[in-house]
Point group: none
Chain length 243, copies 2
DNA sequence: CCTGAATAGGCCACTTTCTGGCCTATTTCT
DNA sequence: AGAAATAGGCCAGAAAGTGGCCTATTCAGG
């Protein structure tokens, strides 16, 4: 898991403990993306704040809640809700998986359990994500890794309506500097694209994520537009925005 | 009030809001012993973590918890929860997807928001599901469709600890009638297998889902065993239970 | 009764974040 | 129009959080 602010990590830790019952700190630390030393301090902090977390020493030990505090209400932040939704959409694209149909009902219930205002914001975000069919074998073979720092930067810009700058290597290997408005996401497992408006060319462009390097959020903000996403999807492979 | 660590201050702020209903930031900041600028940031942080705090501008304004209509509680049935969980696990196997790391945190929070008893049942179910790497290209090519009626029957038997009968076509095309205890699931996208004990042969066997036909739940029940699942996974491809 | 695994926590250099002050913009009530 | 309040950008100094390394302690199993 990626870097997160301390408070969020604490929430995640409590959720893990509740969901898993008991777990060794080593595993939890890995899951949360911090060292065991830091996790140990997190636990100490939470204990100081009044939570009854017990530790079992020795083999097969771990930490767990002593007595259960009243259940916390479901409190997902936007990224978590988007992540859940996208996972379900992708899984439903794979036919014949067990429990995947039920999963579709589950995500609806989860979204319904969010406050109205938050649900509305979320809907606007999900509207900008398009899930396509699985990528062809050749595309699959050419898929490269995507750095965590790149994901962090993109997720933030996409969510917070901030423009994004990066260097790009196109299909023929030419490199260029880009400044874009990241309007949408188009996924063709296992690769995905940013549906964007190029600020310098004032035109719609599509960028494959594993060809992007050196991302940096820009100061400039933008107004996300579902129309841009729909337009680019409608024009399909014939559009002139393919990079 | 005196200086406190940020986490405690957040707790105190929430308590104040609950107790007072609505208050201007100026007063709250003084109460908490920080500047208004810091309090403003605290509120922003809490909002980002999913708390619905609203601000009323202008004279007589202040901040308060959002008043929303009573939300329907999150009531996922077992299949829905399993479906969500499995979707997230599968997505996380695909490296570099946007928001997939956050999705992992989200599913934990969802599970944590379930009542304790349900959470415990669910954990026993999830313990019996193993997610492997993506299938090889040749396996992928040979993947066949899985009928909905088959999924329904299997899901029910797996969940309710009921034995399952079906006719099976093995690797060399030979057909046979089987009666099994469906202990586990092993997924290699896009195909998946039942990890089972064959009642007639009294031995562990693995059945590929798209080779099964005419499923019928049997009257007999069985005791699911995580040990069976672990054992079959540990022995890997060398086991004699491959069909 | 010894060994290994696990929690518990001190110390320290290095980062990162937080904080407060100052600023502007925007909304709302009188 | 004017006052009051939320909203948030920017900056330099202050205060944490973090990871690595260390030791102590407890517990289960052979």
């Amino acid at each position: 898991m990626s870097k997160r602010p301390r408070a969020e990590r604490h929430d995640a830790l409590l959720a893990q403990l509740r969901a898993r019952g008991s777990a060794p700190m080593r595993e939890l630390a890995e899951e949360l993306g911090v060292s065991t030393r830091t996790l140990r301090r997190d636990v100490a902090t939470l204990r100081a704040r009044g939570l009854d977390i017990e530790g079992d020493r020795g083999r097969g030990g771990g930490i767990r809640f002593a007595r259960y505090a009243p259940l916390p209400p479901l409190r997902l932040d936007e990224a978590e809700a988007v992540g859940l939704w996208l996972s379900v959409q992708l899984s439903r694209r794979v036919a014949g998986l067990p429990f995947s149909r039920a999963g579709g009902g589950g995500i609806q219930k989860v979204l319904a359990a969010l406050p109205e205002e938050r649900r509305w914001q979320l809907r606007r975000l999900l509207d900008r994500i398009v899930v396509g069919p699985a990528a062809s074998a050749s595309l699959r073979a050419s898929a490269g890794p995507v750095a965590d720092t790149l994901l962090d930067a993109f997720e933030r810009c996409f969510r917070d309506q901030v423009c994004l700058g990066f260097s790009y290597t196109d299909r023929v290997g030419a490199r260029s500097q880009r400044r874009i408005e990241p309007h949408g996401i188009y996924v063709e497992l296992p690769v995905w694209y940013i549906l964007a408006v190029d600020l310098d060319k004032s035109a719609q462009r599509m960028f494959r994520m594993d060809r992007i390097a050196n991302p940096r959020p820009l100061a400039q903000r933008f107004e996300p537009s579902r129309a841009v996403v729909e337009e680019m999807m409608a024009r399909g492979a014939g559009g002139s925005w393919r990079t």
